[in-house]
Symmetry: C2
Subunit: 233 residues, 2 copies
DNA sequence: CAATTATTTCTTGCATACAAGCGAAATGAT
DNA sequence: ATCATTTCGCTTGTATGCAAGAAATAATTG
């Protein structure tokens, strides 16, 4: 964890918020996981008020949701929501690449460096870092060839995508993802934005194809069958 | 105000949030305007807690900002932030049009209806409604040919754009905007998405060109000169 | 024993009380 | 009169207390 992405603000709510996003991106917290206000207030040693503030922000960002008087939960997107999120990313990232002007060598260098970090995480089999970096590549790209506004939008969308991948047990190979990232940079470096667009589109198609949209339903089915088949005690 | 866009949730914080967004889109509240917690709590007859919750959400959406212990204020984007916001819109809307699949006649009808409302607001010289509808067209487009995720992102970006236009005293003619909206629909109906992309790109260029980026600086200058020229009393 | 009902527990929802800090007005010094 | 300093008011920041409600547990009843 050489580089903590703690952006600016040293106030507690933002710290809590960023920690949770980071944890989601790294796979430390799963979709559906409950995030109790009391629990978090003890962890961060602050009152529930500040925890609540962080949760409200995360809710606005579409990363957690609240069930009245039941608690806060990490989102569990439906199949439709999952598709919508990925299609939103497609529109955004395609448009971003298509409208970007010339990419300077310095920017290419930043992106290359990022992919190198991805590769190292792959070699070292650091799964948390791997998950984080593979998601964060898109944020990095948006901030580099786009601007901070695009970056923050993409941060939310990629976080949700990572959660979706966890929920639908994505089988997308990390090495492939990394390669695809690399190829996108190649295209940018070669001054062929339309090729970058094509590659990004394919990349997102691969991400979506790797999802087992059937899984959530089948999870219920298997639970049901287990309960039905069980001994009568 | 035939159609209030109160989405779902009947809880107070969302009501406050939506009212403020609507007021911003309609030009009822201007950039830099102060939104006191106490003031709002009296207007909505709730405690500061709920007002605060709404403000935190609006902050997360980039519509208000807080100055510590001074208060909440409607954003006053800098020139750079303004550019970033519009460029983010460009990426998003261009990508959205480029990746959209065939637009059904029903969807075209919805969009046409919207433009018709714009025209009526123009004829009746209803400035609030005009401002609201011209901004909301893009949200409507995103929801129609895209999905709710795209829609909500674009809602925030267009709200900010309206505030930017107010701050930098946009001279963009409302009739032109309306015409451009209409042409974009034409292109979509004709099954020429790339033409729609081109038109949208131009539309956003017009929006940006119409901004007097010098105004904020010159405002200070004029203030200064007034103070300097004034009689010594 | 099964099914229903009552109770208890644990959660968030909301209001309120007080602390902390910025800014403007009042005060004092030069 | 001008500038520095201090006081004071009004704002948000944070914690806490209590109410409302949902789910789990215990008690009751057929």
């Amino acid at each position: 964890m050489t580089e903590s992405s703690e952006p600016a603000s040293h106030h507690q709510p933002h710290v809590i918020e960023n920690r949770i996003v980071y944890a989601a991106l790294s796979g430390y917290i799963a979709p559906g996981e409950r995030l109790g206000e009391k629990e978090l207030s003890e962890i961060f040693k602050v009152s529930r008020t500040l925890v609540r503030e962080a949760m409200i922000r995360l809710q606005a960002r579409g990363i957690v949701e609240v069930m009245p008087r039941r608690g806060w939960f990490v989102i569990e997107p439906t199949v439709e929501e999952a598709r919508n999120t990925i299609n939103a990313r497609r529109a955004l990232e395609v448009g971003m690449l298509a409208t970007a002007d010339h990419v300077t060598p310095e920017k290419i260098a930043i992106l290359r460096e990022h992919v190198r970090n991805e590769q190292r995480a792959l070699e070292e089999d650091d799964r948390a870092q791997r998950s984080y970096l593979l998601g964060h590549f898109h944020v990095c790209l948006a901030e580099t060839i786009g601007n901070p506004v695009l970056g923050s939008i993409l941060q939310d969308l990629t976080t949700r995508t990572v959660l979706i991948a966890a929920l639908y047990q994505s089988t997308h190979d990390a090495h492939e993802s990394c390669d695809e990232h690399s190829q996108i940079i190649d295209a940018l470096e070669a001054g062929e934005p339309m090729e970058a667009v094509r590659l990004m589109d394919m990349h997102l198609k691969h991400v979506e194809k790797a999802l087992n949209y059937r899984d959530v339903a089948s999870r219920m089915e298997s639970l049901k069958s287990v309960l039905q088949k069980g001994p009568s005690l």
